[in-house]
Symmetry: C2
């Protein structure tokens, strides 16, 4: 039987469907992680590695003499050395299917929470202990009829677009890969150059992968071109946004608010950001729901098993290796 090493303990329900098909080794306690040296000691015997929570380094890839595939827990794979894995003819799988709905939905939850002031109102009521009757001074944004700008229009961007259209928003997008006119029409999305999306959107949401090219793409200068009444949403990757610049833009009220699930220097979050009122901050949990986490673990394991059985699973990020 082929052997898969799992970097962290995951609930039994995740591995049950695969028992008897592959031999899986993981730490006995859910959430417990194999230390790096333990992974290095074990890896030579294994055919695949589900690097849940363990950084996937060159050292591990070199030590894994029998490795045919590695799996990343999530859809973004900037956290693993996938280029080196590809060089070594090791397949890399991720979990796009099971991440899609929870992440898109969480993004919508962030949009609604910041634009309708839910957290601000909750804090106000808990502090004042009475409903006040200021009825005309509220400058929150009704999203109905407003414009959602999406930077990045892949699977998650498209799902966010569809959900927000159901809430009555218009959708504009920028992506380096522009869709066909026909597809744009079908999805009800209007393409604009990046700068125009940034300056037009009432709510601007990031859905691009993180690459060295878009490191700190969102800096103070770009934020200044947003509407002063607009909100910035980031549930993609932290370093796309310059966090210090975001704090500055928020403090100066260059933009009205932000809802941020990912940070420049995770797991750390800048103290200044955490002290602001006009932000919603969540600890990188957009896909963090029990049922979707189980789905992600199973999607990763299915991908690994697919590779080990000689199939071509859909969730491979370096499918060029199939041609070899």
């Amino acid at each position: 039987m082929k052997k898969i090493l799992i970097g962290s303990g995951i609930p039994k329900v995740c591995v049950e469907p695969f028992e008897g098909i592959v031999d899986m080794t993981m730490p006995p306690v859910v959430g417990e992680r194999f230390p790096q040296d333990e992974v290095l000691r074990l890896i030579p015997e294994y055919d695949a590695f589900f690097c849940f929570g363990t950084p996937l380094t060159k050292e591990i890839l070199d030590a894994g003499k029998n490795l045919k595939a590695v799996a990343n827990f999530g859809v973004g794979y900037d956290n693993i050395d996938w280029k080196y894995a590809t060089e070594k003819n090791i397949f890399v799988v991720n979990t796009p299917q099971s991440v899609l709905q929870p992440t898109a939905e969480f993004t919508v939850a962030l949009i609604m929470a910041i634009s309708r002031g839910i957290l601000m109102y909750d804090r106000k009521l808990r502090r004042e202990k009475k409903c006040s009757s200021e009825r005309f001074f509220n400058r929150d944004l009704m999203v109905y009829g407003k414009t959602l700008g999406l930077l990045g229009f892949g699977r998650i961007g498209k799902a966010v677009a569809q959900k927000c259209q159901g809430l009555g928003m218009h959708v504009i997008y920028y992506d380096p890969y522009r869709l066909s006119e026909e597809k744009e029409k079908e999805l009800g999305a209007t393409y604009m150059p990046l700068k125009e999306v940034v300056s037009t959107a009432d709510v601007l949401s990031l859905h691009m992968p993180y690459t060295s090219e878009n490191h700190h793409l969102f800096n103070y200068d770009l934020m200044k071109t947003m509407k002063k009444t607009a909100y910035l949403i980031n549930a993609a990757r932290g370093p796309i946004v310059n966090e210090a610049d975001l704090v500055k833009a928020l403090k100066e009220e260059r933009i009205r608010g932000a809802a941020i699930d990912v940070f420049d220097n995770e797991p750390n979050v800048s103290d200044e950001l955490l002290e602001l009122e006009n932000v919603v901050v969540t600890p990188h949990v957009a896909s963090c729901i029990f049922e979707s986490r189980v789905g992600m673990a199973q999607e990763a394991l299915k991908g690994l098993i697919g590779i080990l059985e000689g199939n071509h699973p859909a969730n491979v990020i370096n499918p060029q290796l199939f041609k070899k």
Copy 2:
């Protein structure tokens, strides 16, 4: 020119479209209210009264010798003595059109905030100052694929249904007035008796008017029949829910959480409710957005002017008077 008395100061933008058409009197400062005795002194001269923020009592209706119409700021009119007004052949108008989208949208914002744990995560991150990596212990609800139960399926209930369907939810409803099968099919909503909606829903949202019959309809016994994993949402009227019972059900984890915009004894909110973690509480602000407040004020004034000009505006709650 006909004369309209407005009970509170409202922004100029609300009254501008009607200047020159009617003579409007209001306190000079936005938010300032005419005291009750001032209203009583002024009212005999006026043809209509926009009782913004002033309770519409029998005394005022009796003093208003020339009153042909009164307007309520909002869609629910349990706060005014509309029955007595009807007896006196005084038309009552409200603001259903401009309340619809902001209120339905705020309800969706509450649903998303409580089910995806946005406030809980925001508090946790501000407290701990770091993203933690508990990936498998989260029992939040992904609304995608889940069931929304609506009690009350009027305009706002229907708008909430449509928005939540866009988020991937199934909709079941109870209303004393059941729709035709054809209409149910068109709206994708399934009718069930009240008790079944309560026991089936993953998210249960109230959209009924408040009447003496449904006072404290939602008591502990009914809450106990909800799923233990379900959330209760109330942005309709506070006294439909027994607030003390809600606190008990939440403390005992009979239900997973609640998001509440309206309270049993407004403007007061019970201290015990405000101390709970598994609630989102907002101070009766579902329609409280500047643009919609302006829309509401204009809708009210338009209705009053319509009556004064001898027309039949749509936003009259006692249209039986047209027949007299």
